[in-house]
């Protein structure tokens, strides 16, 4: 036991490779390949945190200087989803979510509760994240796992529900998108379309050649280039309102692209290492005779689908500016969107699907849901910051608060974690707002339950 505890204490860069190697063995992968892949995961973890350390020391204090200049109390930094997920995976028990998530999915399939087999193992981190946040608040691992499972079950059901539309609209037959941080906005997006936007005649026409626009965005809309514009603009602001010299403009003009670009590369390495586990799970599924004659939808990652969708990409570029402005205008938003601005299009993708790609509707609908998203980004920040410290990942000096927009997109986990944790801690203030939002969310889902089917039919007829 002492040895196991000793290994767990060594941290993610050592513990994760060992856990993954054992899991790859259990799922019947070859020794040599598993060893190489597991090691790669450890390498990627070091890379992710090195990138953050190398850039956040410049970015974090500059963001806080902006806050001071504007008279805002605290302004934290959006460190991006790759780091947020890496922090999440760094808990010693995090790897367990992969087999647990797989078994839960298996049971759901066995009882005919879902059509989705979620092959997007990487994004099981949404459930790990649910568990991590619950654990930080309550120190109760059983409760943490229980809530993670609840979130998984509902997310998979959301994938089933939206599948008729997502297959048609995004052109991905045979799949569903059980991808928490995007699909959990679908009930609101569908309901807003059904109740309001579809009834405004002026909005129905707007036809624009998005394909053409998407091509124009091409090079200039590359994440690294976006980082440059954001960095320069932010630098100018900071130079104007604080005692930083003009050099900060150029420093941020390189630091923010570096954060965005290098995080992306590191995640690529991490995934390369995770592949044997992912494919081992898939093979186990494929060998099973039980699901042979059933219609099965394979759950995939929604991220790259949204980032390739013309309406989401075009509106998402406008969304970047909207996110920044909203954060500076609305009091209570405590995290300045930065690293995750590169993936803003994915938070518009279900608004795009709900309107079948109508740009104005996508903009209005997606921005409405983003108001809540930015609030959640702040709401999760203290616990994510604590998690970062708990997994013995030191934050650079001058960085008080971190979060990520993508973490804030985890609406479903938030609606479930907050009330439960509030009850456990006896803190009524935590319970009320999430419960009201959750009630609205359930109503929205019930009200709009026919929408994905109906929209898919309309796409067929068009």
């Amino acid at each position: 036991m002492q040895i196991i505890q000793g290994i767990l204490d060594l941290g993610a860069t050592i513990m994760m490779p060992i856990v993954l190697f054992i899991m790859a063995m259990i799922f019947g992968q070859k020794v040599g390949k598993s060893l190489r892949s597991s090691l790669m995961v450890g390498v990627a973890f070091i890379g992710i945190f090195a990138v953050l350390n190398a850039t956040l020391g410049t970015i974090g204090p500059a963001v806080q200087a902006l806050a001071d200049g504007l008279g805002i109390d605290v302004l934290g930094t959006d460190i991006g989803w790759p780091v947020a997920s890496a922090i999440t995976w760094s808990f010693s028990w995090a790897g367990l979510i992969i087999p647990i998530g797989f078994v839960v999915n298996w049971i759901m399939l066995g009882f005919g509760w879902t059509k989705t087999f979620d092959a997007d193992i990487w994004n099981y981190w949404h459930w790990t994240f649910t568990a991590a946040m619950t654990y930080i608040w309550t120190d109760n691992l059983w409760l943490a796992f229980a809530l993670a499972i609840v979130v998984e079950v509902i997310t998979i059901k959301l994938g089933d529900w939206t599948a008729p539309l997502t297959q048609k609209y995004f052109g991905i037959p045979g799949t569903s998108l059980p991808h928490t941080e995007t699909v959990n906005w679908a009930p609101f997006n569908m309901a807003i379309e059904k109740a309001v936007l579809s009834k405004i005649p002026a909005l129905q026409k707007s036809k624009m050649d998005t394909e053409n626009l998407r091509e124009k965005i091409g090079f200039w809309g590359e994440p690294m280039m976006l980082g440059l514009y954001i960095g320069l603009a932010l630098g100018i602001f900071i130079w104007a309102v604080s005692d930083y010299s003009w050099k900060i403009i150029l420093e941020l003009g390189v630091a923010i692209p570096a954060l965005i670009f290098l995080e992306g590369r590191m995640i690529g390495i991490l995934i390369d290492g995770l592949t044997p586990i992912v494919d081992g799970v898939r093979d186990t599924f494929q060998k099973s005779e039980r699901f042979k004659d059933r219609e099965i939808l394979i759950g995939i990652d929604a991220g790259p689908i949204g980032l390739a969708n013309p309406a989401s990409v075009v509106v998402g570029m406008v969304g970047i500016v909207i996110y920044l402005l909203l954060t500076l205008i609305i009091p209570g938003y405590k995290i300045l969107p930065l690293a995750d601005l590169a993936i803003v299009p994915i938070y518009y993708m279900f608004a795009a699907a709900a309107s079948k790609g109508n740009l104005w509707k996508t903009l209005i609908n997606g921005t409405l849901s983003s108001l809540l998203l930015l609030y959640l980004t702040s709401s999760f920040a203290p616990q994510l910051t604590e998690a970062a410290q708990l997994v013995e990942y030191g934050l650079p000096a001058g960085v008080l608060l971190i979060s990520s927009i993508d973490v804030g997109a985890h609406l479903l986990p938030w609606m479930i974690i907050m009330p439960v944790v509030g009850i456990v801690l006896g803190d009524l203030n935590m319970i009320i707002v999430p419960l009201v939002i959750a009630a609205l969310w359930v109503l929205a889902w019930v009200y709009a339950r026919d929408m994905p089917e109906k929209l898919a039919k309309e796409l067929d007829e068009a």
């Binding site: 995004f170 965005i217 995934i271 991220g303 980032l307 390739a308």
Partner: protein, 101 residues
């Protein structure tokens, strides 16, 4: 048949899932002893990448067809690389098209 193929995997983000798709394609090609360079490109930058260096095949994993590409480039629907199911058939199809050239 060329000595070595150049294959572009066109994805939405060139991050997590693109790496997975690339790894799976490479593994399947290695199994069949087929030499190929596999590069990942974001779908938005695909026209630029193709103009720069023309691949034999473009595998699209993001669902939506890419912007107009030169006719001689073979385009393959790459959803199996995302789901992990049907990669065999995808590579069969791709090779048949390549050898048909």
């Amino acid at each position: 048949m060329a000595d070595k193929y150049l294959i572009y995997v066109a994805c939405g983000s060139a991050a997590a899932s693109a790496a997975l798709a690339r790894r799976r394609l490479i593994d399947e090609l290695e199994k069949r002893n087929i030499k190929a360079d596999v590069e990942v490109h974001r779908i938005l930058e695909l026209p630029g990448a193709v103009a720069n260096r023309k691949p034999n095949v473009v595998v699209v994993t993001a669902g939506q067809a890419p912007a107009a590409l030169p006719e001689e480039i073979i385009i393959v629907q790459g959803i199996p690389l995302m789901t992990g199911f049907g990669i065999d058939a995808l590579v069969d199809d791709m090779l048949a098209k390549l050898e048909g050239k």
